[in-house]
Structure formats: structure tokens, C-alpha cells
Symmetry: C2
């Protein structure tokens, strides 16, 4: 990009107005400014997505790339019990990317940001020799003392998951097989949408943040990994039951083994998993049902060393974190 | 990097203790948390540096890369009149980078962070197919209403610059010619240090923030660019005098033309340039002199369209923003 092109590109992505009342200065100076507030804790997180590592032209259109880069960060804010307010975007652009594609990336972010009244307040635009690299920082807030940490799990808690698990990886499988432009069936498209346009669970996080002690994590790497993080931070044993894992009707077209693998290790569903006391679970379940948010009990917590066990029929096995990186 | 290597790497860069009293949760959960405060404005900025675009093995050792990636962000906080508190680092690592090099990058950041009692509170570690990409987000604070924006310049202000200009690019020239391991003279090494380990001017920013109306920018792209930004944001004409631009003794070994070009367009000096009323200038100059901080009057502001003029002897020319990207 020439200097002139860069100016005009930056100009085209600079917000014309802002939504958050506590913003003091957005894009256009050395840094952004927002007012402090004694009643809250500020939350900040940062995630990077790289072409050929986290996505490629076969699996994601530019709109999806932007949307998902922001969604993964919003999901982290949701997993702290917070609401997102601001985002900053640093993008490294290779020459082979057309300007229209770049604008689509920002449109994808905007579509999701609008839903939460979030403002784009800064970032950086640089050129890259090879791949597109997009790094997003999100800043949010939670009422003082209301944040939800992974270390909150205790024996006798129940373990829950929101929504359905494994869909994102099922969608990816379809995309890798047939490509982003294929004419998918309605059921297939539902899985693909979960991969390309995942929904962070901010609203459910807000319900959970009303309760005094919830351990929470978002499903970016798969629940095997997320639950191990909770077990380790809380020093408890977590037991889940394979039969209770929530799944969509669409994923059942794949083999049982495939389904279970994706539900446990797939990741990128951006659901929430966590633990809460039995009394509070009753309240939480009720409030989620009233609002039509799907949330499912999948297991329980016991005293014991930090580990995760999975019950399948009569068998009880150790559930280890595998991680999952499909383009490696 | 294998999953196991990644865990051990992340573990080795995770801070063992934190310094900022308002931090609630650092590295290790979905996001970091810090307490809000009614008396301040939070400041946030984000910068990316890419191998073969912003640096290469010929010009920067890993320690310098980390140091400079953080320095450029701290400089943005300084240019708002703030102090830095926290940083987040997202790093995309190609396979050809050894672990020792990566740790050196974080050591370079730590060396600078320690000076300002800054805490590393989050980020992301991903693999890259080609170049190393490092993106840093810095969060700082300024007393409510004390921030310094580019739009503050008014006619009859004086224009100032801190330190000396152009040294960073002179240092780069030496590095590109002879490489990072060459046995440079003491004078050459001074210029190289300004390129590899620039000093953000946080302390001078703090002095400036005590005054009611300072327009300020940091010198990342060269003063031609920075002053045009101030002129444009403030809608004033800025006039600077070539003879008054502050230069180091070391840079004078280069030709007059070369020196002037670097002082105007070189960038990466991370000095501060700005404008302030004549009365306040007297106070600022006095306080900087007492503390041994170098600050120099380089011109003045007039009513008129947004532009920057440069006086050289009898001539007055328009000073346009060129930008500067040495690896393109």
C-alpha cells in the first residue's frame, strides 16, 4: 500500500461517531482515552489470527475473518462476566490482499461491535511480506468484585456448558472438504455458520456474574483444555459425562467418534463452560430457560488432585488437553 | 513449537509477581483485570513490528526488538501526558526462531517495563509461517482532564522538540552498512543505540501535562509528519527553522543534506514535539533545564491554513509528510 492509499484506507475505517459515553478520545491521536470509574474493573484481552494458521481462503471470507477475530476476544470478556466496550485492531497486510477484502474484514468486526455498542478506538496498519495477520485487543468492564475467575471451582459444584459443542469443527471439516463457495445444505450451513460467525455468550456471562462464585472459561480450544484449566486453577477434580455433552441436531450426521472428538477437543465454539454451586445452578438454569439461552449440566466437581475425568458408559478415563490446530 | 513447548515458553514469560497496585488479575485467565478510578483517564495504544518490514537480523538483536516494540507504545502514552502501567504482547513465531531468541525479546521488554513499574498482563502466542510479528498493547493513565492532544495548538504558540532528531536513522544507516555485530566507534555506537534502544520521554511528558494547553506528538515517523498532524488537528500553520533543529554531535559526521533529511523525515527517535504558549514555554524550559532534560524551541505557530513551513536561510518551503520505510 502506498502512503496515500494507507491514509485513505485508515480514513475509511475511522469511525464517524462513537457510542460509549465514557470514551474521551478515539482514533486519531497517539492513543485513545476513556474515563476511569471507581465502580468497575476494566478487563483487557488480546488475540491474534494468522492466514494459513487460523484460517485460509478456503474456509473464511474476509467478513468472517474480521467478525471472528473480534468474537474470540469478546468471548474472553464474556468469560470474565464482563461486557465489551472498545476494540483496537492491528492488521499486517500483504500486497496480494485487495482493498475491498480489507474493508470487508472491518465490516465483519463492525457487524458484531454494533450489537454490543462497541467502539473501534485504535490500532495499527502495517505491511506484511507474506500472510495477513490480525490482532485485536478488546477492553470491557465488570462491576467491581463481580469478575468470574477459573480458580473459583469447589467440590460439589456442578459443571455446565452453554449452547452446543463441536459444531465449529464440524463446520470446518465441511469447509475443508468443499470450500467456502460450495452450495451447502441448510444443516451443513448451520455448522459452517458456527465456524465462521460464532456467537460470544456475553448475555449468559451477565447472568452468571450475578452469582457470588462461578468458575468460568470460554471454549476456544475445546472443553478438554478449558476444563483442565479450571481444574488446575481451582485444584479440584472435574468429572464430566460424555452422554450429557450438549450437541446440535446437525452434528449427528457425523460418526459418534468424530462427534465426541470435536465436542471435547474441537474448540472455537466460543460457548462458556464452568462450575457453580448446586443451589445457584437451579437459579441460573431457571433464568437461562426464561430467556431461551441453552445451558446444560455436564458433570460435577470433587475434591482431589487437579484433573478432568470423563465417564463413558461404565468407563472413567482421564481427559487430557490435546489442543487442536488444523492448519499445522 | 509443540503444545508442550508452548506451555513451557508461556510459563517462562509469565510474571512471578506484579508491581501495579490497581492490578486485580494478570496473566493466567481469559483476560486481565484492573480497578477503575474516577480520578484518571485510561490511555490505550497498540503497535506492530514485523521482521523484514520494521527490523531484520542485520539491524536488531532479539533484545532490541522487544525493547523497541514496547518503547514505541510507551512513547505514545508519553505523548498523551500519561504514564504507562500495563502491557500485553501478541507474538507470531516462525519455526526458524530459536527459543533463546524469543526469551531475549521478552527480556528486552522487561528491561524497559521495570523502569516504569509496568506489568505484563496478557497477550497471545501463535505460530507464523514466515516472519516474526510482534504486537504490543500498552495501557496507561493520565489525571482526568490533563491529557495532551494534537488539536491544542494556537497561533503565537512556540514549537518545541525534545532531545535530538535524526539519530535513529543515522544509526540505522550504519547498521545497514556494517551489520549489528560490527565493531563500531563510540560515536557510531551512540547513534546505533538510539535506533535499537530509544528512550521514550515519559518524564518530560509529565512536566508538560502540568500545563493547561500543550499540543503534543511523539516522533515515530519524523517531525515533518508529526507536525503536519498537529497543524491539521489544530487547523494552524506551523513554521519551523532548519537551523534550530536539535542535533547530536554524533550525527554531524554525515552530510548536511543527509542530516536534515533524517531530522525531518527519519522518525523512530521517539522524542516529543509540540506547541505551547510563550508564557508556559518559559516555565517548561526552566523545569526541563533543572532536571537536565533537553528541550529546544524550533519554531512558532501562526493563524492560517493547516500546513507546515520550513525556513532555511532566506527560503521558506512547504514541509510535506513523506513517511519513511527503509525495508520496502
Amino acid at each position: 500500500m502506498s502512503v496515500q492509499d494507507e491514509f485513505s484506507f485508515i480514513n475509511s475505517i475511522t469511525p464517524k461517531k462513537y457510542k460509549q459515553p465514557h470514551l474521551v478520545a478515539g482514533v486519531g491521536d497517539d492513543a485513545a482515552l476513556y474515563s476511569g470509574n471507581n465502580d468497575v474493573e476494566e478487563i483487557v484481552c488480546m488475540d491474534t489470527m494468522i492466514e494459513e494458521v487460523h484460517f485460509n481462503r478456503q474456509t473464511m471470507k474476509p467478513f468472517h475473518i474480521g467478525y471472528k477475530a473480534l468474537a474470540s476476544n469478546i468471548s474472553d470478556i464474556a468469560a470474565m462476566g464482563g461486557v465489551p466496550n472498545f476494540y483496537l485492531v492491528s492488521i499486517a497486510i500483504p500486497k496480494h490482499w485487495p482493498d475491498t477484502g480489507l474493508l470487508e474484514i472491518y465490516k465483519g468486526m463492525e457487524a458484531l461491535a454494533d450489537r454490543y455498542q462497541m467502539d473501534l478506538i485504535g490500532g495499527d496498519t502495517v505491511s506484511s511480506k507474506h500472510s495477513l495477520v490480525i490482532t485485536v485487543t478488546v477492553i470491557g468492564r465488570v462491576l467491581k468484585g463481580r469478575h468470574l475467575l477459573r480458580k473459583n471451582a469447589k467440590a460439589n459444584d456442578i459443571v455446565f456448558a452453554t449452547g452446543s459443542l463441536g459444531d465449529s469443527m464440524a463446520g470446518l471439516e465441511l469447509l475443508l472438504k468443499s470450500g467456502v463457495d460450495f452450495n451447502f445444505s441448510k444443516d451443513e450451513q448451520a455448522l459452517i455458520t458456527r465456524h465462521q460467525l460464532p456467537e460470544p455468550r456475553v448475555e449468559i456471562g451477565q447472568i452468571l456474574a450475578k452469582f457470588p462464585r462461578v468458575a468460568l472459561n470460554d471454549v476456544s480450544d475445546g472443553i478438554a483444555s478449558e476444563l483442565n484449566e479450571i481444574a488446575s486453577a481451582s485444584d479440584v477434580t472435574i468429572v464430566i459425562e460424555a452422554e450429557k455433552l450438549p450437541k446440535s441436531s446437525q452434528i449427528t450426521s457425523f460418526s459418534e467418534d468424530q462427534q465426541l472428538h470435536w465436542m471435547l477437543n474441537g474448540g472455537e465454539d466460543y460457548e462458556l463452560v464452568g462450575t457453580v454451586s448446586e443451589e445457584d445452578w437451579i437459579e441460573i438454569k431457571k433464568e437461562c430457560e426464561q430467556k431461551n439461552y441453552s445451558i446444560t449440566k455436564i458433570g460435577y466437581v470433587t475434591n482431589g488432585p487437579a484433573k478432568v475425568l470423563i465417564k463413558q458408559g461404565d468407563q472413567m478415563n482421564l481427559l487430557q488437553m490435546l489442543g487442536f490446530n488444523h492448519f499445522k
